[in-house]
């Protein structure tokens, strides 16, 4: 790069001399915009607790990014927008009454362990928000599924005492799983749940309040060319298919739990998903398969987090197996 010799500000550089308007920050802000309707709807319905959760996860995510970069004397990366997305996604994946310190720890783990320890944006093997959520789930799993009574200001002692109370805030999905385990059938009409799940369902995480608004946001990202339709299509399609194969209601199962947030917003994370089109379809199918298997034969009512994290781990292998064919090269499979 050098300035022109004749005194102007002209730049000499290699071709191409024009660039598309796509930027990392722009992409991240589109993801935020696509999540905003669902997040706002959560705030409208849940009020202050949802605001508190969003503020803590986003605040701690941004703060961790800034602090770790500062301490390790790396260039600041707050403006790339990825920490904002991670914080927002983490909030959407948590129940609104998650104790504040739990949300904060989740956000810290997401950014520090999930991303920065790997070398920062672009180097993380796993989706940072899911790493944070997995940490919280594994540490205080019963709490997330159950304790809603004390909520925001619950202490660790409260949590320990009430951790096994899974009744007060159990989701439809947990009830369905319990019913299935008890009788092989369901104690309620799954089809009657479509509408609340799509529009207004006040059980579970912020991201479970309206599957409809998440679908809307996801479609916007597909239309804008920001995410590849193959991942959510493979995911949701397989989820429905396997649910059907297990003799359950496929529509209920794709609308309930973390599927829509996972399929449109978590599994589509660029860094932790495969690069090739074919690879993305395979990966989406894998996410759907393991999510469904986790639900039907796993120990927990929901398994979105671990299904996607598992497929994150397979993404490099999928990339290896789905390399594009080079133009003019005849494939000779050895």
């Amino acid at each position: 790069m050098s300035k022109s010799v004749n005194g102007s500000d002209r730049i000499v550089g290699p071709s191409p001399h024009i660039a598309s308007s796509a930027t990392c920050t722009g992409i991240m802000l589109w993801v935020v915009a696509a999540l905003t309707p669902a997040a706002l709807w959560a705030v409208v319905n849940m009020g202050l607790v949802a605001v508190q959760l969003l503020v803590v996860t986003i605040g701690v995510a941004l703060g961790t990014e800034w602090a770790v970069n500062s301490i390790s004397r790396k260039p600041q990366t707050l403006l790339d927008g990825s920490a904002l997305v991670t914080g927002l996604l983490l909030a959407m994946s948590l129940p609104p009454r998650t104790p504040w310190w739990m949300a904060a720890i989740g956000a810290f783990v997401a950014i520090w362990l999930g991303k920065l320890l790997f070398g920062g944006l672009g180097h993380n093997l796993f989706n940072p928000a899911l790493v944070g959520r997995a940490f919280v789930t594994l540490s205080w799993g019963g709490v997330l599924a159950g304790v809603q009574n004390r909520g925001w200001f619950a202490t660790l002692a409260d949590v320990s005492a009430e951790g096994l109370d899974t009744v007060s805030g159990a989701t439809r999905l947990a009830v369905a799983a319990a019913d299935r385990a008890a009788s092989g059938g369901y104690g309620f009409d799954l089809a009657a749940q479509y509408q609340p799940l799509l529009l207004k369902n006040l059980e579970g995480s912020l991201g479970e309040i309206s599957a409809g608004l998440l679908i809307l946001g996801g479609l916007v990202l597909i239309v804008k060319g920001i995410i590849d339709w193959r991942i959510p299509a493979g995911y949701i399609g397989t989820m429905g298919l396997v649910s059907w194969a297990f003799g359950s209601d496929p529509i209920f199962h794709v609308l309930a739990g973390g599927v829509m947030l996972g399929a449109f917003f978590m599994a589509t994370d660029y860094v932790s998903s495969p690069m090739s089109k074919k690879g993305r379809l395979i990966y989406g199918i894998g996410c759907g398969l393991f999510n469904a298997l986790g639900r039907f034969i796993g120990p927990m009512p929901e398994s979105t987090t671990f299904a996607i994290l598992f497929m994150n781990g397979l993404a490099p292998l999928i990339d290896r197996l789905t390399r594009p064919r080079v133009f003019g090269v005849v494939k000779t499979d050895a």
Partner: protein, 432 residues
């Protein structure tokens, strides 16, 4: 008609509106011409005139006895002021004949080339090279290796680079000359099929060509998508044949020439006219964008002045198109046989200065747009880490340097530049 396509590609904004409607006009002959003696791929020419010599328009001023070369002719009548050197668009300094043109020029006349029964000899004598930008001597291309039968001649009028409209205007204004070029090349090669291909953003040119096309010359419109005009992608789009890895495009039985080259070939064969001028699109941030017929050796600065000068803050001045052209460090470089355009990119439109510390966020855009099916992100990473063998294993040398990967990269990694480094390292290792 089915929509012929190739894999990958991008849709940069065309920016062709400001010149697509500008009829070609002669640019004035400047007071001083700088005619480089190397305007083609291959051996540079040696001057055959000396300081103070009188030269006529069309007279040979440089030549060399080499297979891959093309002679250079005086574009004007005038006097040789000096045999010196000049910077050219690529940044190299090459030998040049500097000519002071006579005040009165008759641009309609010229000294014809030496007549010959061998059409290939005529094409060489006229100094015809690929005018799409590659500047490969046309005679060499018209002489396919023994045992390689060419059945299809493709004239490339795609002009897939943004901003450029010189080929568009040529096809629109002189369709019969383009067709004449097609006929001449067909005769020379003995091809069965001739296709004139252009992108579907030039329907007027397509109509003009169809009206002028005679005896079985096909005019095919292809979807507008960069790099539709790249040789391999064009052959694939038209014939659904892939140029095999490591082979010449002729291995598919197809021979591709740019439309302006075809006209130069027809001119050489029909009237003995040497290649001494060309149409140049001068566009972007200039006061009077347009298409100009420019004598070779006109300085870019003269041409920009004729176009009313640069307007506003111009960040890069490109020789050629913005995807594959060269950013000029100095405007005191001459127009050559391969100069299709001069594009002044204003601030905000030019790509940001490259920096190599941007992370790959694995968005998947670059492998999706690579027309060669490569994985640019990984090739660039290997090149950055000097892992030449790994880059070679992933076919780095198949890169056609179209720049689609760098264009789409959201973090603005200098993908193509890194790949070029990897490619040249892999090629020099392979040569050993």
């Amino acid at each position: 008609m089915g929509r012929s396509v190739f894999a990958g590609g991008v849709h940069p904004p065309g920016h062709k509106e400001s010149t697509a409607g500008s009829p070609v006009q002669w640019a004035p002959v400047p007071a001083r011409l700088v005619v480089p003696l190397s305007q083609h791929l291959g051996a540079p020419c040696a001057p055959v005139v000396g300081k103070g010599d009188r030269v006529e328009r069309g007279q040979v001023i440089g030549d060399v006895d080499a297979m891959v070369s093309a002679p250079i002719h005086s574009p004007v009548a005038g006097t040789v002021a000096e045999i010196g050197t000049t910077l050219v668009a690529g940044g190299q300094r090459v030998a040049a004949v500097i000519i002071e043109p006579d005040e009165v020029q008759d641009l309609a006349s010229f000294v014809p080339i030496e007549a010959s029964d061998d059409p290939r000899a005529c094409v060489r004598a006229a100094g015809v090279v690929g005018m799409g930008g590659a500047t490969f001597p046309s005679t060499v291309k018209l002489t396919p290796p023994k045992g390689m039968a060419i059945d299809t001649v493709i004239l490339n009028g795609c002009e897939c680079e943004p901003f450029l409209t010189c080929d568009h205007r040529l096809m629109l204004e002189e369709p019969e000359r383009v067709v004449a070029g097609a006929v001449r090349i067909r005769e020379m090669i003995g091809a069965k099929r001739v296709i004139i291909a252009l992108e579907d953003n030039k329907p007027d040119a397509a109509a003009a060509l169809r009206a002028a096309a005679a005896d079985g010359i096909e005019v095919t419109e292809l979807p507008t998508r960069y790099p539709q005009g790249a040789e391999k992608q064009l052959i694939y789009a038209l014939l659904k044949k892939e140029v095999p890895h490591g082979k010449l495009p002729a291995a598919t039985g197809a021979l591709v020439h740019n439309v302006a080259t075809a006209v130069a070939i027809a001119d050489a064969l029909e009237s003995g006219k040497p290649l001494t001028e060309r149409i140049v699109t001068v566009t972007g941030a200039v006061a009077r964008p347009g298409n100009y017929r420019v004598v070779i050796g006109t300085l870019v600065s003269d041409l920009i002045e004729h176009a009313g000068g640069l307007v506003g803050e111009v960040e890069r001045v490109i020789s050629g198109g913005p995807m594959t052209g060269m950013a000029l460090g100095s405007l005191e470089v001459p127009i050559t046989k391969g100069s299709s355009g001069i594009v002044a990119l204003p601030k905000g439109m030019a790509a940001p200065a490259i920096s190599d510390d941007q992370p790959c966020i694995r968005c998947g855009r670059c492998p999706a747009v690579c027309p060669m099916g490569l994985e640019p992100y990984i090739l660039a990473t290997y090149a950055g880490k000097r892992m030449w063998d790994a880059a070679a294993e992933r076919n780095v040398i198949d890169c056609i340097e179209c720049g689609a990967c760098s264009y789409v990269c959201p973090t603005k990694r200098p993908l193509l530049q890194l790949i070029r480094v990897g490619k040249s390292a892999a090629m020099s290792k392979g040569a050993k």
